[in-house]
């Protein structure tokens, strides 16, 4: 009888790339369903086109450019990028722009660097940043939630983040009184609130319902797909920093408004925790999270854009190799150095 001889360990813990990738996809389902409910047909179309084009580009580049016999197209990472990219777009975005976003995310940001595991930047976020710079008008046209299947040509409006920015610019704290109430922000229904003469807009697909994202976070923590370090570091930093600002001057919106508005929750839970582009050690992850939280508030409060989450994460993606280099885990015992 021929026996296999290999080195230990001889058993494996059944974890796999697929389990993790599809696990995150599953964690995104509540937020996806919320986006379908709030934005209707437009959301479904954007999500479907985004996933389909991401998977297509992953497959095509693997097959025709890498000529890789073992394609990474079935491991779920392209589907995940597709969902996250769609989550970063408004539901009324023209579908050809969605395709361009997917091509940039997969083709440029992910595959140029060597594919799965090699990219420096989060593909979905880099795709969003690319689109935001290239198509600023379409990317910041926020449909009002709850228009159901009429949403494609529906009414749009500014988001609470724009209002918060306006309050800081004018120094007029009374503007903040027309913010949606916190329960509506948690659920994702901004349509009870008004902004200027219009109704407040909903925002990107995935960020609309903070509650659905928190459900996804709990699911990922329970299944040990991610650890708490990055999301908690980001959310805590934002809460503390905006809390201090709010105490100093009420024209700055408070922690609850910041945490529940815009892409903060989505970014902290699903974007910053991307395995490939986040630091490897617990200490590094905390530093990374704190820096993202800090940069987000800085951009939101004093920057040119109302939302700073995606830029903050992309900036810290660039710092990840540096953080990995300097943040070592605590070694067992005291290491005696010569």
């Amino acid at each position: 009888m021929k026996l296999t001889v290999s080195l230990s360990p001889h058993v494996h813990g059944d974890d796999s790339v697929r389990r993790n990738m599809y696990g995150v996809c599953l964690a995104l389902v509540p937020a996806m369903l919320c986006s379908f409910i709030f934005f209707g047909l437009g959301a479904i179309a954007v999500t479907a086109v985004s996933i389909a084009s991401c998977v297509f580009f992953e497959w095509a580049i693997n097959k025709y450019m890498f000529r890789n016999p073992k394609s990474t197209v079935t491991d779920g990472s392209a589907i995940l990028t597709g969902i996250l990219l769609a989550f970063n777009m408004p539901s009324n975005l023209p579908l050809w722009i969605v395709v361009i976003g997917a091509l940039f995310a997969i083709g440029v940001v992910k595959m140029t660097f060597g594919g799965l595991g090699c990219n420096l930047f989060n593909p979905a976020l880099a795709g969003r940043a690319f689109l935001l710079i290239s198509f600023p008008a379409q990317m910041t046209d926020w449909p009002v939630v709850g228009q159901g299947f009429a949403a494609v040509d529906g009414i749009s409006g500014a988001t609470p983040l724009a209002l918060m920015k306006e309050a800081v610019k004018t120094g007029d704290a009374s503007l903040l009184s027309s913010m949606p109430d916190l329960w509506d922000m948690l659920i994702g229904n901004n349509s009870h609130a008004t902004y200027g003469s219009g109704v407040m807009g909903g925002g990107c697909l995935g960020e609309v319902c903070a509650l659905a994202i928190i459900i996804g976070l709990i699911y990922m923590l329970v299944r040990r797909i991610i650890t708490w370090h990055i999301p908690v570091a980001i959310l805590a930093t934002v809460a503390v920093f905006t809390g201090l600002l709010h105490m100093a001057d009420p024209m700055y919106a408070g922690p609850a408004e910041h945490l529940l508005s815009g892409g903060l929750m989505l970014g902290a839970v699903f974007m910053a925790t991307d395995y490939v582009t986040s630091p490897m050690t617990r200490k590094g992850q905390i530093i990374y999270g704190v820096a993202i939280g800090f940069l987000t508030v800085v951009i939101r409060t004093w920057g040119a854009y109302p939302e700073g989450m995606s830029f903050a994460i992309l900036i810290m993606n660039a710092f990840t190799p540096l953080i990995n280099n300097y943040c070592k885990p605590k070694r067992f015992g005291e290491v005696v150095r010569k």
């Binding site: 026996l3 296999t4 974890d15 790339v17 050690t281 070694r331 067992f332 015992g333 005696v336």
Partner: protein, 447 residues
């Protein structure tokens, strides 16, 4: 419940043979004794072809201080001294003995009566260590470090505790578990002998809480020994690693190599070693048999066997219903740190804690995928290292960087590779890097 602080994993336990009482294995027809079955210098054969030997007769003497003598487990005639492939996969010189009858040496106490320390008030610490040394006792957990060397700490270090490793953290293995259930009294005498040998007045017996019956029994029996405490530990691999065990039991962390466990005051011995020490000192019986677990998912009747050294593993497998049709891999030891065997003819040695049969499906490694940098290996490493980095640096032959990243601290437990979602052969590369770096350090120190 106590456990070690950094990293660790929890593989499926699969302790199929936990309820199987220890059976006595049949005598082999030919017993084979490799001369190098411990850490340190090989033993030197003192018998020749044609010599008649008895059970318990010394057939090879220690080759130095860090070495151990080897005793025949059978009576018969020395057939030849020749190379044999042992569990390590390397050829080693070995003594082959053709078995005739079962005639024991004079002076070995074969009765079941318990001899306690109070029966032998004359024993001094030096006597105990001398007896252990002359009986060829080595660490029975698998590493086979000569026991008397551990009991002779270097000058300047002061032992404070004897910690008995009874965690048996490897999945499948149940030899230590059964030994505790069936020989608790002897083990406790063995522990007090070890404590007396190094002059400490505190002993711990560390048992993982997947063996509640052993914890109950040992705690009950240990009431008669006020200085010995049974410590239940939360199940986590690699708790049986010396450094992890010390951290779990007394909360001290041994510094990086070359520091020894005794530098934080701990002397670690396996529970099987404690039993062997009892037999060596109180029963005058040298180390020539041990309990071996024979197990596997496809095996008909997994079991635990009191086996004479030199018995081929194939004989134990036959006693369990024979090698299953679908066998893909046979492992000497447990699935996390055991060695895959080239053939089942390998003889049972002092460190053979188990034989594990894996079917073809289990024996096949899944194909490696790209590293997704999930950091799960970093979280699992019990030494606080970064396995993904060590593996990548070894792949690119960056030896200096590997030394900086403390690769020599790696205990090769395999937790990183076990946990890797991309099925990467992390430990294969780390072993390569570690042995190269150790070689570089050795040659640098030699200059």
């Amino acid at each position: 419940m106590k456990t070690f602080r950094i990293g660790g994993v929890h593989p499926a336990e699969n302790k199929f043979s936990a309820a199987e009482p220890i059976k006595i294995a049949e005598l082999p027809k030919i017993a084979v004794f490799p001369l190098g079955q411990h850490i340190g210098a090989h033993a030197k054969a003192i018998v020749q072809k044609g010599d008649k030997v008895k059970v318990g007769q010394m057939i090879a003497e220690a080759g130095g201080f860090v070495s151990a003598p080897i005793f025949s487990s059978v009576s018969g005639t020395v057939q030849k001294i020749d190379a044999v492939t042992d569990a390590s996969g390397y050829g080693k010189p070995a003594i082959f003995i053709e078995v005739e009858g079962d005639e024991w040496m004079e002076g070995i106490d074969r009765s079941d009566s318990l001899v306690t320390l109070s029966d032998r008030p004359d024993l001094t610490d030096k006597d105990i260590i001398e007896k252990i040394r002359n009986a060829g006792v080595v660490g029975m957990g698998g590493a086979c470090f000569p026991c008397h060397v551990k009991l002779t700490p270097p000058p300047g270090s002061k032992p404070e505790w004897v910690i008995i490793n009874a965690v048996e953290c490897e999945p499948y293995l149940t030899a230590d578990h059964r030994l505790m259930l069936e020989h608790a009294d002897e083990i406790l005498v063995g522990v007090s002998l070890l404590m007396k040998a190094v002059n400490v007045d505190k002993g711990y017996i560390a048992i993982e809480n997947n063996k509640p019956d052993a914890i109950r029994l040992m705690t009950e029996k240990a009431k008669a020994y006020p200085n010995i405490e049974v410590v239940p530990l939360k199940v986590k691999y690699p708790q049986g690693g010396e450094k992890q065990l010390i951290d779990a039991v007394v909360g001290r962390q041994v510094p990086a190599p070359p520091a020894l466990p005794v530098s934080v005051g701990a002397i670690i011995q396996n529970v099987g070693t404690a039993f062997a020490v009892y037999q060596a000192v109180m029963k005058n019986k040298p180390l020539f048999e041990r309990v071996v677990t024979v197990t596997g998912k496809s095996l008909a009747h997994p079991g635990n066997f009191l086996t004479r050294m030199g018995t081929p593993m194939s004989q134990l497998i036959d006693a369990c219903g024979g090698l299953p049709e679908d066998t893909g891999k046979v492992i000497g030891g447990g699935p996390m740190m055991g060695k895959a065997l080239l053939s089942t003819d390998v003889p049972v040695c002092k460190g053979s804690s188990g034989v594990l049969i894996m079917n073809g499906k289990e024996a096949t490694r899944a194909e490696a995928e790209p590293c997704i940098r999930c950091a799960k290996c970093v979280g699992a490493c019990p030494m606080g290292l970064e396995p993904y980095l060590l593996s990548a640096c070894a792949q690119h032959q960056m030896w200096d960087r590997l030394e900086q990243e403390d690769i020599t601290s790696c205990i090769e437990c395999g937790s990183c590779q076990f946990t890797c979602p991309s099925n990467r052969p992390l430990l294969d590369y780390i072993r390569l890097g570690k042995s190269t770096v150790m070689g570089i350090i050795r040659s640098r120190n030699a200059k």
